[in-house]
Subunit: 138 residues, 2 copies
Amino acid sequence: MSLDVIPIHVVNAPPGDAGLSGNAPPLLRELLEMVQRLLDTGEGTAIDLSALPLTPADLDWLRERLGSGEISATLQAGGESTLAETACPGVWWVTHRNEQGTLTAQFIEVAFVPELVKAHPQDVAIGRDQLELVISAL
Amino acid sequence: MSLDVIPIHVVNAPPGDAGLSGNAPPLLRELLEMVQRLLDTGEGTAIDLSALPLTPADLDWLRERLGSGEISATLQAGGESTLAETACPGVWWVTHRNEQGTLTAQFIEVAFVPELVKAHPQDVAIGRDQLELVISAL
């Protein structure tokens, strides 16, 4: 991660905490509420990390606390997006890169399945039509 | 793919079709019905390729007809499972490997999201409890 690619607000790190701004721990508490909401209502939500005053050290701290899960998905569309489940099931670390590989956005998404991984009915219907064409050409 | 890892039934290939058994085209028609069922009822289904009399050439022919999509997911649990969307949205090519990397099962799954990619509510609840512990230790 580079400071060039995310609009980081300059924040003062407390001495001894190597770049931590103190803004990351409240995010964990917000995540806990988001996970509870998912369980209660099925509603998924996301935090746009690029829009928050987080230092690279804050982001490392968050990723370390959340850990790594068993599932990771990649989406190739223009650039590459990765959707990695954390050790906390239902909490996904999502990054989007452009065609040059530069990080353009970073989210934590709370959902049973990240939106980007789902096939949408209108696309499935288009695929069905294409499959019909393939079969009729056999 | 190796003949050793999938119980291939010996089938006679028609001359000139380099290993094709003739069993793959009917599978495409079955897939079309499965995709239509998904659209009509939301019900996902799967074909266990390992259980069918398909040659490696049949499997290659199927993969070629179905093409490659934008999304691919991997699951690390014991061995590696890959769930690759085909060019036909909602149709996923799923392979399971053991810890030695040997292919142990192969499916075509028709679903908006493959079952294995979904976080299950009971796991999300366990994750919430762990997140609470992390936060209380801050």
